[in-house]
Amino acid sequence: MKSHSHIAWALLAVLLIAFPAMAQAFGGSFYVGFATRVLILALAATSLRLLVGELALVSFGHAAFFGTGAFVVAILSKELTAPVGLLPGTDSAWIAWPIAVMVSALLAVVIGMISLRTKGAYFIMITLAFAQMTFYLFESLKMYGGDEGINMAHRSRLGFGLDTGDNVTFYYVVLATVVLVNLLFRFLIRSPLGRVMKGIKENETRMQALGYRTYRYKLMVFAIAGAAAGLSGALLANQNSYASPSLFSWLQSGNLLIMVILGGSVNFWGGAVGAIVFCVLEEVLPHLTRFWQIAMGVLVILVVMRVPEGLTGLRWRVRVPQVGQRRSSSEVGNG
């Protein structure tokens, strides 16, 4: 089994690395940009899955951090090229992106401090309310474009001879960032802190009785998820060289939640798989029918009803019998 998964990972790595070359060979340079966007959204969905899957915190306001990351980068860029004068501007990725991450994390701490005192449906509604507040705030910032958003003169600069303006280079920058954040998340989930998250998800009251200040842990993970979402927002603003207040809208939060639900919140890769399926369908379905959103809706309903654990929860019905102890899945499953 182990060698099988090694091969699968190697194939995936080759596919991700070779993708731009393959796309260009087949004359579809457009797909490099598409794949970049998918990776960026996969990062945002992965950060939301951390909350939904590891802590059972269904945040309906994740777009707040996504949008904040995008706007921080865009505002810093505008301050450099057409300054409003409130801040010193910069177009260095090494400065702008970490600031985007930190501001998003800070916002997540503020929003989390209040929302995490509520549970269930109240948590969903209060995170939604906060995200809508950020939406109206940025939409009303006339000096930063108001409802028209902010255009960036160019993408953030990385130095080292890397031209982020080139779509293929930018693809690799995004790929590296996404891989790094995923490794970090995986490390966290497998660390002692991951064990605390599992305990809080299972039985928060007992965790408190065992000496854990669960509120602090939840706030910390909420901030980490917000920071990662902010980073993906910063990447998206870069890709489009544009940040729109619509990034803050509840539709964006909803889409991210749908990705997590489609992919499945329990599996580590649920967010990424959901984002890929969602984006591909969003691209393909409109070619087939004008009413593609209905088809998307039907699919989401089918997944929720038939595979509650999402697409990553699907298992092969028939397992290839293997030499040794492992036999059919039915025998293993009912043990």
Binding site: G199, E202, A209, R213
Partner: protein, 247 residues
């Protein structure tokens, strides 16, 4: 002179018009098993929840080894060694026995942020195994908690509290729902826990178990402590018989 573990003065908890805890004074000295008995609805579990910090008290004070803990949270009290178990089994059902106990040990070791500590893994494992032996679940370390038998789940319930190395253990009906042939092991087990630096406050309905285990017994009726004495004094008290034993 034995050390004072717990000193409760004038403790009150109201639920609307109901006095669930009615000006209770209560003391526990070191290395004692103190049993709490009384009819259903007497306020025993409410009292334990107030001690553990799950419920905040309306009036009165609680002091633990000389520190006022009346306003501390449940987690802070657990850190100090005041740990409870639950009458309705409250374990991490979807995690293995090992992970259940590891959560508890990790809390005691303050190890949740020791990300790069290789020695921690071994330290945790050793202590989890040793607790598992004490609660007779060493052979079930990799069993999901929800697949344990009911009796084993009760053992794990106590194991979670025990892994914190408490100084005062609040056991809320540890033997609730067990079949009669499982009770003797539990009685011996609880007796074996008592020792230096561990006192136990025990709620139990099985009077045989109570008389076999306890050094002192308090009788609660309608939120009030109506009696406090040794097992023999309780047996011979006319007041207790009238109010509770129903003879």
């Amino acid at each position: 002179m034995a050390e004072q573990v717990l000193a409760v003065r004038g403790l009150v908890k109201r639920f609307g018009g109901l006095m669930a805890t009615d000006h209770v004074d209560f003391d526990i000295t070191d290395s004692q098993i103190h049993a709490l008995i009384g009819p259903n609805g007497a306020g025993k579990t409410t009292f334990i929840s107030q001690l553990a910090g799950g419920l905040l008290s309306d009036k009165g004070s609680i002091s633990f080894y000389g520190t006022d803990i009346t306003r501390l949270s449940m987690a802070e009290r657990a850190d100090m060694g005041l740990v409870r178990s639950y009458q309705i089994t409250s374990i991490f059902r979807n995690l293995s026995v090992f992970e259940n106990l590891a959560i508890s040990v990790q809390s005691r070791l303050k190890a949740s942020f020791r990300f790069f500590d290789k020695a921690l893994v071994e330290e945790l494992r050793e202590e989890v195994v040793s607790v598992a032996h004490r609660i007779q679940l060493a052979d079930e370390l990799h069993t999901q908690a929800c697949h344990l038998s009911y009796g084993q789940q009760r053992q794990l319930e106590i194991g979670l509290a025990l892994a914190l190395r408490p100084r005062l253990l609040l056991l809320d009906e540890p033997m609730a729902g067990l079949s009669p042939n499982q009770v003797p092991w539990f009685v011996d087990f609880i007796k074996s826990l008592k020792g230096k630096n561990l006192s136990i406050l025990l709620i139990e309905h099985d009077m045989d178990a109570v008389f076999r285990l306890s050094d002192r017994i308090s009788v609660f009726v309608a939120g009030k402590r109506i009696f406090n004495g040794s097992p023999d004094e309780v047996k011979s008290s006319a007041e207790v018989k009238r109010a509770y034993l129903g003879e």
